[in-house]
Symmetry: C2
Subunit: 141 residues, 2 copies
DNA sequence: TTTATCTTTGCGAATGATTATCATTTTCGT
DNA sequence: ACGAAAATGATAATCATTCGCAAAGATAAA
């Protein structure tokens, strides 16, 4: 597998914007994250990134994830019953429904809940920095 | 440290109600959980329970926690930046504010948010089984 | 209460995820 | 292209959690 020049340029400037050095391993990993439609764990990301850039190691996957999380480019999740899973941050915030039967993760967002959260935090004397809302559900029917 | 007979009876019947066998290790651990005002991790629970019942081992702490979580008597949390933390389930559900400076965890609950969550899940074709809402905040002032 | 069965326990080893070490290679401003 | 600083792969180390097993304990029936 190989990524085209247009994708590469986009990823490189994302890294630059995030204020981190550009390496081929980081490009590969961020490319994989950017194109993932699911919420993979570190090993899965390692496998997928290895297809693009075989020189990447698992240690670098973890290190790069930390760097990108620090730069707010990536989010880490700890859904129930498994290890950490990752996704590229998107323009607008969203929360997650976790299907208890399949493990599938679906995104949603609610302006109203976001607003109430701010109010609750303020009432209790806190400034809300970020939050996590996870709905554990089963499909109806 | 030693627990009085009244406390002991209460804990024992909680365990019976939960449908699990009663052992002195389980009594000690549930007693500690019941009296904890914070959200301790497994090691901390092990330390505290050891004061009441020195024969308890860390393996049994983990095993008992699993049993009690299965029985819905205890909840497990994975707040950002640390291992699992535990608390005894209370009558009414609540969510958590995590103080990003101190790590302190404060409880709150919002009827409105709970209601909207149900609606969102339903809209997307899901039945809401349970949920987690974590607000990561900094104190104002 | 004695027995018989099934469960739980402590210990220590095993596992799985993540992080640290370190010598080497790479990035990037000059 | 040069050099300082940062990133990398390989592997060892760490940390939380689980497993395997022989011994001890809990429960229900007699």
């Amino acid at each position: 597998m190989k990524l085209n020049q247009k994708d590469e340029l986009l990823i490189v400037s994302s890294l630059r914007d995030a204020g981190v050095r550009v390496t081929k391993q980081r490009v590969a990993l961020l490319y994989i994250l950017d194109n993932a439609k699911d919420h993979p764990d570190a090993i899965e990301l390692y496998k997928r990134a290895s297809e693009v850039e075989p020189t990447i190691s698992l240690a670098t996957v973890y290190r790069t994830l930390s760097v990108l999380i620090e730069a707010k480019v990536v989010h880490r999740h700890s859904f129930e019953g498994g290890g950490a899973r990752f996704e590229k941050a998107k323009r607008l915030h969203h929360d997650h429904i976790v299907d208890l039967n399949t493990g599938e993760v679906i995104e949603f967002n609610s302006e109203i809940i976001e607003k109430i959260q701010f109010e609750i935090a303020a009432e209790m004397g806190y400034e809300l920095i970020h939050h996590k809302l996870e709905l554990y559900c089963r499909k109806i029917n």
